[in-house]
């Protein structure tokens, strides 16, 4: 699937160009209002858009051009004939139809005889684990079951591309995990179709998508392999989205870099002395220890080869500071120290209890070289 579109609604304009191969899941991440849903609606043909959309060699949208596929008038295939299924946050099952009739809706609308459409619906419902609930009304299903029925309905229409707009956002954790597994299993299906997964959660991208596209204010700010996009974001914005520290860095002699007052060694790239670049590391990769006589006593990382100079703030990948801010995060506490305000550090809850974290506390920090990503250049 090839997409090169400009679309807008209510004064907001979104531009995006990308390609997604059959069998591939491409994640689109970005905060609310970045244009992700606008992009999906435009691909689905629900919004007026300028540009082109192709699936294989089928042209769904083409701009007006004399030599182009649509000539001077361009091409715009209406939603009903695009063979693109769009699944959103809400399952939107038809409340007046049974679950089976919901799933059979697509085939029926495309002219498949009733018995055959029902048979296909039953098969799809088996696949998503709802075989026994086919005769129920949607209102009799739980939220997770409804979303799985909606996935079955989308797939039963045998689309040539699947667009997912925050499909897990409204589900509780177990239901979301179940739905995620269904989507992950989909790219092994044949015929393989491209899947575009819009999410505000970068972890969805990490789990499901080989490639990721980041949107901000209606345009693509970074795209590439998910590992690279989330592992070494190219901007503060993407770093904040991915939940990692991204610091401007300058090369030091001896292969280390200086960033936000820290001296760090990392992997992935080297900066010559004075060369600008960036470092990225996850707040959770930083190890927090108490400072002073308590070092090593509070269950800190014994056995570490360098535990001898713990607390020395001048060695690479080590620093110290006084706690300025504590914020709860899932599974732990995020802290900032007064000396390096731009560096977030996450402390797991059990460790936070052991340390007795409190504002003003003096702490030592260290991070493995393997957890610090270094890149040359300002891009």
């Amino acid at each position: 699937m090839k997409v090169d579109l400009r679309a807008g609604r209510g004064g907001f304009t979104m531009t995006a160009a990308f390609e997604a191969r059959p069998g591939e899941i491409l994640a689109v991440i970005g905060p609310n209002g970045s244009g992700k849903s606008t992009l999906l609606d435009a691909i689905a043909g629900l919004l007026p858009a300028v540009g082109s959309v192709m699936i294989g060699d089928r042209v769904l949208d083409a701009p007006p051009s004399l030599g182009g596929p649509g000539g001077a008038r361009g091409v715009h295939i209406p939603p009903a004939r695009r063979r693109i299924a769009l699944l959103g946050q809400r399952p939107l099952l038809f409340p007046h139809l049974s679950v089976r009739e919901n799933v059979a809706f697509g085939p029926r609308a495309q002219g498949v005889p009733r018995a055959e459409a029902r048979r296909r619906a039953e098969k799809r419902l088996e696949e998503v684990g709802l075989g026994g609930l086919a005769a129920r009304r949607p209102a009799e299903l739980s939220g997770g079951q409804q979303q799985r029925a909606a996935i079955a309905r989308a797939l039963a229409s045998e689309p040539e591309a699947l667009l997912l707009d925050e499909p897990f956002a409204a589900l509780d954790a177990p239901s979301a995990a179940q739905a995620r597994r269904l989507i992950a299993a989909q790219h092994r299906e044949s015929p393989a179709i491209p899947i575009i997964l819009v999410t505000h959660d970068p972890m969805d991208a990490l789990i499901l998508a080989a490639r990721t596209l980041v949107m901000h204010d209606g345009s693509v700010v970074q795209s590439g392999s998910t590992a690279e996009v989330l592992g070494h974001p190219r901007s503060e914005f993407v770093a904040a989205l991915a939940g990692v520290n991204r610091l401007e860095a300058v090369g030091l002699s001896g292969g280390a870099v200086a960033a936000a007052g820290l001296v760090l060694r990392g992997h992935g790239g080297t900066l010559r002395q004075g060369e600008p670049g960036s470092v990225v590391f996850a707040p959770g990769s930083v190890r927090v220890d108490a400072v002073g006589p308590a070092v090593g006593g509070a269950g800190s990382g014994a056995g570490d080869a360098r535990s001898g100079d713990a607390g020395s703030a001048t060695a690479p990948n080590r620093w110290a500071g006084r706690v300025a801010q504590l914020d709860p995060i899932p599974g732990g506490i995020r802290l900032h120290v007064a000396e390096h305000p731009g560096v977030a550090v996450d402390c797991p809850s059990t460790h936070a209890v052991t340390l007795g974290l409190h504002p003003g506390q003096h702490l030592a920090f260290r991070i493995d070289e393997a957890d610090v990503s270094v890149r040359a250049g300002l891009g």
Partner: protein, 301 residues
């Protein structure tokens, strides 16, 4: 259903007490008492007085009617050929008018619900006009358009069509006054359901007509049914516009309301007939409501 609903809170109370009993032994007294139910404790009690007066205003006239009725003459009055003729004409014309309203009104409601704000406002204002105008004015307006000297009267006369004072005029007058009820009701339902399901259906490959037939209409069904009931009831009771535009010819344009009026205005002896006919009209209206309500609770949902 009701018994289950009553039992559920008590069961919840006892489990909560059993759970809490271990941790807070002091909290167990009073477990066997049902939980007090909260009533409208936030509203002033004196509101009840006008509310009761309102009920009296709505119900007392009908009670008075039943009291005043000379039951001995009722069977004869409502089975008289004149009454049955009027009833038949009323039911037929109201049914035709309702069908006309559905055929014309559903598309109008869809157009209103799906058009941009300003256009929807204009359409809604125009649609509501017959609702707020006295039906007599509607009758005069219909005469001005379709009457012999009306705007289209000449054209119709050339074509050999005469509308005023025919049964067709009755249907037109009824459709004119009852169409707004149907349109407003369906438009509200369409607005409430939104377009999300329609978009999904289109994405699954359904043509516009299939989307309308299999998604939009069923989702709007409650509003459609309510609209049809209101529309039929209004058509059945239509008097003012019919009287002016269709006249009061027995068997042709004398519907039930006109028959009642005629009976009432005739010699005083026939006042009882008017009341008996009113009773008949009330019975028909109640029957329609009951029928529709029963059908609705049995079907969708």
């Amino acid at each position: 259903m009701r018994a289950g609903g009553r039992r559920a809170p008590r069961a919840a109370t006892s489990t909560a007490a059993a759970r809490g009993g271990g941790a807070f032994p002091g909290a167990s007294p009073g477990v066997s008492l049902p939980l007090p139910r909260r009533r409208g404790e936030y509203l002033p009690a004196w509101l009840l007085i006008p509310a009761i007066v309102a009920v009296a205003l709505l119900v007392l006239p009908f009670i008075a009617l039943l009291v005043r009725l000379d039951w001995a003459t009722v069977p004869a009055a409502i089975t008289s050929p004149a009454a049955l003729q009027a009833l038949g004409l009323s039911l037929t014309t109201a049914a035709i008018a309702t069908v006309v309203c559905v055929v014309l009104g559903v598309p109008l409601a869809v157009a209103m619900a799906r058009s941009p704000g300003w256009l929807a406002s204009v359409l809604r204002t125009l649609t509501t006009l017959p609702l707020v105008l006295p039906p007599l004015v509607g009758g005069i307006a219909l005469l001005a358009l379709l009457g012999r000297n009306g705007l289209l009267g000449g054209v119709l006369a050339v074509a050999g069509i005469r509308i005023p004072f025919t049964t067709a005029a009755v249907v037109i007058a009824q459709a004119f006054v009852s169409l707004p009820f149907l349109v407003i009701s369906i438009e509200g339902a369409l607005r409430a359901i939104g377009t999300a399901h329609e978009r999904v259906a289109a994405g699954l490959g359904a043509s516009r007509f299939t989307v309308f037939r299999r998604v939009t209409l069923p989702l709007a069904a409650p509003g459609l049914i309510a609209g049809i009931v209101l529309c039929f009831a209004r058509a059945l009771g239509e008097f003012g516009a019919t009287a002016l535009f269709a006249g009061n010819a027995a068997g042709v344009t004398r519907t039930m309301p006109l028959a009642i009026y005629t009976a009432f205005n005739g010699a005083g002896v026939e006042e009882d007939t008017a009341i008996a006919l009113s009773l008949l009209l009330i019975l028909v209206a109640v029957a329609v409501l009951v029928l529709i309500r029963g059908w609705r609770s049995g079907a969708v949902r």
